[in-house]
């Protein structure tokens, strides 16, 4: 079975479980509060995923290492290259 079929099977299983609980398709007569909690579940999972992505991006921005030596070295190399090209006639 391909990965696509596996994913589609999993998604359809979860979706059918959600539909059965939210819309009472099997006449299970669950308490009203459980149906009220289950109904927004897909949207809630989406919002949770968005929050997790935002937190991951923010955390990695905050902990990304500055490389001061490499930055200074790169600036020096840029100046060298500019002088070299100016000597050879390129206008910068």
């Amino acid at each position: 079975m391909t990965k696509l079929l596996e994913w589609l099977l999993g998604v359809s299983l979860v979706l059918s479980a959600w539909a059965v609980v939210s819309f009472d398709l099997l006449e299970l007569s669950l308490p009203q509060t459980y149906r009220e909690v289950a109904w927004p579940m897909p949207l809630y999972l989406l919002v949770t995923f968005g929050c997790y992505s935002l937190a991951t991006v923010g955390y990695r921005v905050a902990t990304f290492n500055d490389c001061d030596e490499a930055s200074a070295e790169l600036q020096g190399q840029i100046q060298e290259a500019k002088q070299d090209l100016r000597k050879k006639g390129l206008k910068i």
Binding site: P40, L43, T63
Partner: protein, 83 residues
């Protein structure tokens, strides 16, 4: 470690997403199990808005992405060649 503005922006993103996640979780999952005369309900909008507000946010996001693409494509149009 990143310094200055990077750290501030990153940490504020983390804190904002934690706050949003906590508020939304309480709103969707915990509030239905709380008695309707508890004062906690005062801090939350009616539950219909817990579906409408993310929907509006998604629409606004799609509009912004579409507008951005439109602006970029407008700037990149080249005049037709005349033979």
């Amino acid at each position: 470690m990143a310094t200055g503005v990077d750290q501030a922006v990153g940490m504020s993103l983390v804190v904002f997403s934690l706050l949003l996640f906590t508020y939304y979780s309480v709103w969707v999952i915990i509030l239905p199990f709380v008695d309707s005369d508890h004062i906690l309900h005062k801090y939350f909008l009616p539950r219909e808005y817990s579906v409408i507000l993310p929907g509006i946010a998604a629409v606004i996001l799609l509009l912004c992405i579409g507008a951005f693409i439109a602006v970029i494509m407008w700037k990149n149009r080249k005049p037709k060649k005349v033979d």
